[in-house]
Symmetry: C2
Subunit: 156 residues, 2 copies
């Protein structure tokens, strides 16, 4: 991951459909070079070029963050199980006052409730506590990297 990789990622974060040729002109390298690096970044799963959307604007009416505390020995296993649900779009293992944090999408509040309070505990009996945070409005969901790569480079 060198500065050229970072500049390519920044360009594609800005506009995922920008032509490789155009990026190449901008960065003074060949088009094939951009193509080769994007293939590597993509096949190594470092980046993914994709359509992201504002969930609320797209009609996903019930979006929530959910916290689970679970028996310590079950954390990894349960995080994996939670990842299998298509309602769940994001799963992380956390330190602090929650062991697993995930984001879940539903068509109604009762279906969110049923999923978190019935469906998941049925499969995962060692869940100790749950906390639900319904998201009302998303003000920022940012996909640019420049500021971040800059900061990383300053400190290295």
């Amino acid at each position: 991951m060198d500065k050229l990789d970072q500049r390519i990622i920044s360009a594609l974060a800005e506009d995922g459909r920008r032509s490789y040729r155009d990026i190449a002109r901008d960065l003074n390298v060949s088009e094939a070079s951009i193509r080769q690096r994007v293939s590597r970044l993509t096949s190594d799963d470092l980046i993914r070029i994709t359509a992201v959307g504002n969930l609320q604007a797209l009609g996903f009416d019930v979006v929530a963050m959910v916290h689970f505390k679970v028996l310590p020995s079950r954390i990894e296993e349960y995080a994996q199980l939670i990842s299998e649900y298509s309602a769940v779009r994001f799963v992380s293992i956390s330190l602090g006052n929650a062991d697993i944090i995930f984001q879940s999408l539903h068509t109604s509040i009762p279906s969110l409730h049923d999923f978190v309070r019935n469906e998941l505990p049925r499969r995962m009996p060692d869940i100790i506590a749950t906390e639900i945070f319904p998201l009302v409005k998303t003000l920022k969901s940012s996909w640019t990297w420049e500021a971040w790569f800059d900061l990383q480079n300053q400190n290295s």
Copy 2:
């Protein structure tokens, strides 16, 4: 937002660089029609085609979710202010036991601490409580929509 829009979004979520021509062939419409709809979806800010990445894999070592409780009259204002920071990549207003939930990226734990415990409270005196959830490992960060559009359509 009709079924054609949903199919286009699904295709671009799968591969944001797939050619409009190829999508058009698949969906039995003209290339210009795909182009026109993608332009609309993009300029209406319903979707964005972008490079997303695994933050930990890209070297963003300290990623945390942060919860704030704030004076009720300040929630919107503070959520806006938090959105202005480039360290902050996601900001939502929440119901339940937190008023504002955001994701923040840092190069070290002390810098996360300084940001959340000093920098933000200095600008936002009506923060009542903070809670930090450092993310250790992200198991899923999914950008596909098929399952979701299917569910929406069943219920409508």
